[in-house]
């Protein structure tokens, strides 16, 4: 099935619509495209934004009054 999808994607590209068939703005080996639903799809990144494993152990700075507008 993946081969068929890749072939269809190739044909669509030949017709000049290759930009319609990319995944997260780049080719996807599985022949799949990614479409934006809700948020833009992001590639998983290790250690993105200096992950802090203790982040959830710290009290969050959330002001209830601010939130309750």
């Amino acid at each position: 099935m993946k081969t068929k999808k890749r072939f269809l994607r190739f044909l669509i590209g030949v017709l000049g619509f290759s930009s319609m068939m990319v995944s997260c703005n780049k080719e996807d080996g599985d022949g799949d495209i990614r479409v934006m639903y809700g948020v833009a799809p992001a590639e998983y990144k290790e250690n993105i934004h200096q992950i802090d494993p203790a982040a959830t152990e710290q009290p969050l700075i959330v002001n209830d009054e601010e939130q309750s507008h």
Binding site: M1, V35, V39, A42, E43, Y44, D52, T56
Partner: protein, 362 residues
């Protein structure tokens, strides 16, 4: 009425035919790549156009984090987590104090996650804590300049808060983001000015959608664009994309005839139940959370999520049932398959057809 939407050139038509075959392959595989979590129906605003009719207090309690994470753990053996985007939606996700906890747990399990927010509660401290919890993608709503945005949102500070949030987000490396604008009668005339405002403010990614009749929006006819405005809107998007000063795209709403491939990066298709699933506040397993009709396929409190995803969703994957009324003899049915599932009501009738709006002067 003849316009660009009614004319689909031969080359594009062949590409659309091939894409329809591609879509059928996708249906057979139904590779889950997007999972919505409706984590709360509470909201710190009460927007006029809210599709979920959210308010400060909700009849539904927030879903406990552990219940959602249990679903994730049951899903993990069946997917490559790196390829499944978890989209936290609401309500307003920032109403939850344990969002960072859930986010970090998702990150630890290898899932990229993102959220849609109105930006009201997104100050520097909260943003930093979300980043430390592995936030990968974020969308902030901005529905015009201060007067309109605040009027829609019913809060005099909402524009400033959203704009401050956008300014922070747009400067953050490694974070995928966009600004989303709901275009309607009230802000339609400001699009050019808004484009310039966003560009000058350093925003690079902008997405536009039109109102669909759901939730509170269904009650206000001034929210909807007419034929001429809808055509003009697509022309605006097309022109902006050609200018390349800001990356602008139209949302996934519906088939656009001749405008296909010109206002967004993909041919139209509704991924609900094909590659997109949603878990609603009450545990219902559905397509995307924009679908307000109860086309639920199961419930996480009774069913195994993966079993439901793999074996059910028949009405999402075979849309022949939509071939009725205006769709019955429609010449583009093979491309649009009855439109987005979120545009069908409880009785499976179509609430709105963007293609009809574009091609017929009402």
């Amino acid at each position: 009425m003849k316009n660009k939407a009614t004319k689909i050139g031969l080359r594009k038509k062949i590409a659309l035919d091939l894409f329809a075959k591609y879509y059928q392959q996708k249906v057979k595989e139904h590779p889950l790549d997007t999972l919505f979590w409706e984590c709360t129906l509470r909201c710190n605003l009460a927007c006029k156009h809210c599709g979920s009719d959210c308010r400060k207090e909700s009849l539904f309690k927030d879903m406990p984090a552990e219940d959602f994470l249990r679903v994730i753990d049951s899903l993990t053996p069946h997917v490559d987590p790196h390829k499944v985007m978890i989209v936290v939606s609401g309500g307003e996700p920032l109403m939850r104090k344990d969002l960072e906890y859930v986010g970090l747990e998702l990150y630890k399990r290898g899932y990229p996650w993102g959220m849609v927010t109105n930006g009201m509660a997104l100050d520097r401290a909260r943003f930093d804590s979300l980043l430390r919890a592995g936030l990968h993608s974020i969308t902030v709503s901005l529905d015009g300049f201060a007067e309109q945005h605040n009027a829609f949102r019913g809060n005099p500070q909402s524009f400033d808060r959203a704009w401050n949030a956008i300014q922070m987000i747009s400067k953050e490396e490694d974070l995928v983001y966009d600004v989303v604008t709901c275009v309607n009668q009230h802000n339609f005339g400001d699009l050019e000015r808004m484009k310039r405002f966003l560009i000058d403010g350093g925003v690079k990614y902008w997405r536009i959608f039109t109102i669909f009749p759901s939730g509170r929006a269904a009650e206000d006819p001034t929210m909807f664009l007419n034929h001429e405005q809808t055509v003009e809107l697509l022309e605006f998007i097309k022109k902006t994309r050609e200018e390349k000063e800001i990356y602008l795209t139209f949302a996934c709403e519906g088939f656009l005839g001749g405008y296909e491939a010109e206002v967004r990066d993909h041919f139209y298709y509704c991924g609900a139940g094909v590659n997109v699933a949603g878990i609603r506040i009450d545990g219902a397993i559905s397509g995307c959370t924009s679908i307000r009709a109860r086309y639920d396929q199961g419930n996480i409190y009774k069913d195994d999520f993966w079993e439901v995803w793999d074996k059910r969703f028949e009405m999402y994957r075979n849309r022949e049932w939509t071939r009725k009324d205006a769709c019955k003899d429609c010449k583009v049915f093979k491309y649009c398959l009855g439109g987005g599932m979120h545009l069908r009501d409880e009785n499976q009738n179509m609430k709105e057809c963007l293609y009809l709006t574009l091609t017929e002067k009402k």
